[in-house]
């Protein structure tokens, strides 16, 4: 069914639309090409179109592991960084959901004094520069003994992620309306049944989208992680930044860059299908 629709859709594309799509694809995929080549190079100097010497030619001749040998070796610390990144991202997402679900429900459905001011207050962390938050937090966290700890970073990550999550969930709650829950109540459902049978399933697509977004934001935060991790807790962004801060991309830096993009790509691939079907299939009962 879906496949037939796809074919029908593509056959209707005008030449302009096709060129446009190709351009977009080029912009997205394009930067990866030189990265992949660089990650396999030993020496790639201007004006050579391709590396003058490849990594495979030098492999074994050099005293240290080169290019992908380095990236995948324990010396690059990339596994440690990847595990930290995913663990922090998951924890942040879970805590963020616990905080934001009730908050969004109230913001979407209730009216109370100072609501406008409160909503503005919620988005403040997006306006204040991360560096300012980071420096101030560091001083506080050092006193509390939280600096350089896993939970210190999790708390710091909640600051820029909560505003996004609250906004997304508020929109979802607004779209949901009270009617379905009232209907269930009239039909004799208990509150818990309503929550698990009606509210949550209907909210799920929005929750998944918000969680995905929070996870991606968390896995990309460099400055706060760097300040509060004190270099002791490394994540993929801090590892990458240390490698490319000079503005020069060598083979191992290119390899690490490619690995850093992986969690995002994998997550998008997994959830894309899910969100599409859930959100537009059954989510709102169309």
């Amino acid at each position: 069914m879906a496949r037939r629709e796809d074919i029908a859709l593509t056959s209707r594309l005008s030449p302009f639309q096709r060129i446009y799509l190709l351009l977009i694809a080029g912009f997205i995929v394009g930067p990866f090409l030189p990265l992949i080549i660089q990650s396999l190079a030993f020496r790639w100097a201007w004006p050579d179109l391709m590396p003058g010497t490849w990594w495979m030619q030098q492999r074994g001749k050099s005293a240290i592991p080169l290019a992908w040998d380095y990236v995948l070796s324990p010396y690059s610390h990339i596994w440690e960084a990847a595990i930290n990144t995913v663990a922090i991202g998951t924890t942040v997402t879970a805590i963020c959901l616990v905080i934001c679900l009730p908050a969004a429900r109230v913001l979407a459905r209730e009216r109370f004094r100072g609501k406008g001011a409160f909503e503005f207050f919620l988005s403040l962390p997006l306006i204040v520069p991360e560096a300012a938050i980071g420096m101030a937090l560091l001083m506080i966290f050092i006193r509390l003994g939280l600096a350089g700890s896993f939970f210190g970073i999790v708390i710091a990550h909640l600051i820029p992620t909560i505003p996004y999550m609250v906004r997304m969930l508020t929109a979802v709650y607004q779209g949901l309306g009270k009617d379905f829950e009232e209907q269930a109540m009239i039909l004799g459902a208990r509150p818990m049944q309503i929550l698990f049978r009606v509210t949550l399933p209907m909210l799920l697509p929005g929750v998944v989208a918000g969680a995905l977004f929070t996870f991606l934001v968390s896995t990309n935060i460099f400055l706060l992680t760097f300040f509060l991790g004190q270099g002791k807790i490394i994540t993929l962004p801090t590892l990458l930044f240390a490698k490319i801060s000079g503005g020069t991309l060598d083979a191992s830096a290119a390899g690490i860059t490619l690995v850093v993009t992986l969690p995002g790509i994998v997550l998008l691939l997994i959830t894309e299908r899910f969100i599409k079907e859930e959100a537009f299939g059954k989510g709102f009962g169309n």
Partner: protein, 448 residues
Amino acid sequence: MKLGISLFGVLAMCTAQAAWADVPASAALRDGFIAGKLDWSAVEARAKEEGKVNLYYWGGDDTLNVWMDSVVAPAMAAQGIKLNPVRVTATKDAVDLVLAEKNSGKGVGEGSVDLIWVNGDNFATLKQQGALYGGFAQRLPNAKNLEWDPSDQRALLNLRDFGVETNGTEMPWSGEEYNCSVNSKRVADADIPHDFDALKAYLEKHPGKFTYVKPPHYIGNTFVEEAIYAHNPDGTGAAPFQQSLSEIKPEELARLIAPGLEYLKSLEPLLLNGASGSPNYPEDNKAIDGLFLNGEIDFNCKFGLYGVAKGLSTGTYPEGAKQFVFPKNTMIKNKNYLVIPSNAPDGAAAMVLANWMSSVESQASKLKEVGMPSGIDSWKLNKTDADLIASSSPGLVGVTQDEMDANAAPDTNATLVNVIKATWLEYIERHNPAPIAQIVAEAYKTAK
């Protein structure tokens, strides 16, 4: 929100408990060892109790990273200490962390940094802020590998870091000398400049084919200092720049550095992209290596006695790269160090690591595998050890050790470096039209 706040509180309490430290024992060991009341075995025993050491170092070099994990970590493990190598993007980050913790009231044994790879203004900052552990270096068993006798001129490199007296608060780790490399496939030997006038003449023929690392990065500062030495109006080279900020008047310093800065200003239009009015100054040594590899610049000036040999083996230098003498008689030579901050949580383990780092075995291994020059003094070693160090060297490419020694100059006093880099930023980067004397006077005020 409420849940978040209470969660925060609970976590804060848990971690504060975990961060408990044995403060009196740390202080007692430090004071006892430095005063000579405790011997080395007491340090080793305490280091085993501490069980770990947090070493903060610039992590931009894959070879060094591999060496830390594959050589240093097992050597420390053999002494019952877990090495925790923390790779920082800039040494200043580690210094800032020490000072931030100190300002939050974290004293002896309560911080998070045990040992930092450091020199120059970063050390001067720690010293000025009173954030040093103490004079441990000459009490280490491997201090015997270094020259400490102040009557020997050669001991200056161990006793002074950029002119600032170390008083044994840091242990020399590596020796360095500023030098330049050229791609001999692009530039004929006859065209290679050996002094600043020749460099300018070359750039007039080949505009845009040179640049230097941007101050305040120390590699950039050093280039500026060399230009200042070479243009010293009294012809006394590095000599007057050994004084500290309090010993030299601003007018006098301005007079001494003005010709060098004028030269650098006149060089600007000839630098990479200089013709467009905004020359490209690379941020650090990795960035300038990239420009050199791509042939955007013909000469690459930085610290790295064995930089060419290493760059060729890792592919970061072009084939045909070799070193040359530049600038004659003013190639700055110095050492870099391992320093223990005052609030080190594992002071004894830090001393054990610093001691191991100055052993013949580790120096030879570092020289061979990382290409970092030896930091211990070969004349203090027996013949076998001296030969081991000599044979571990990756070797100079295109210059001889005699040439390097003959053209060496001492570095500038770290307190002056702060004024010089501030003046460079103001006069050259921000195009401040004020006379140099006025800019220097301003920089003096902020430095004090």
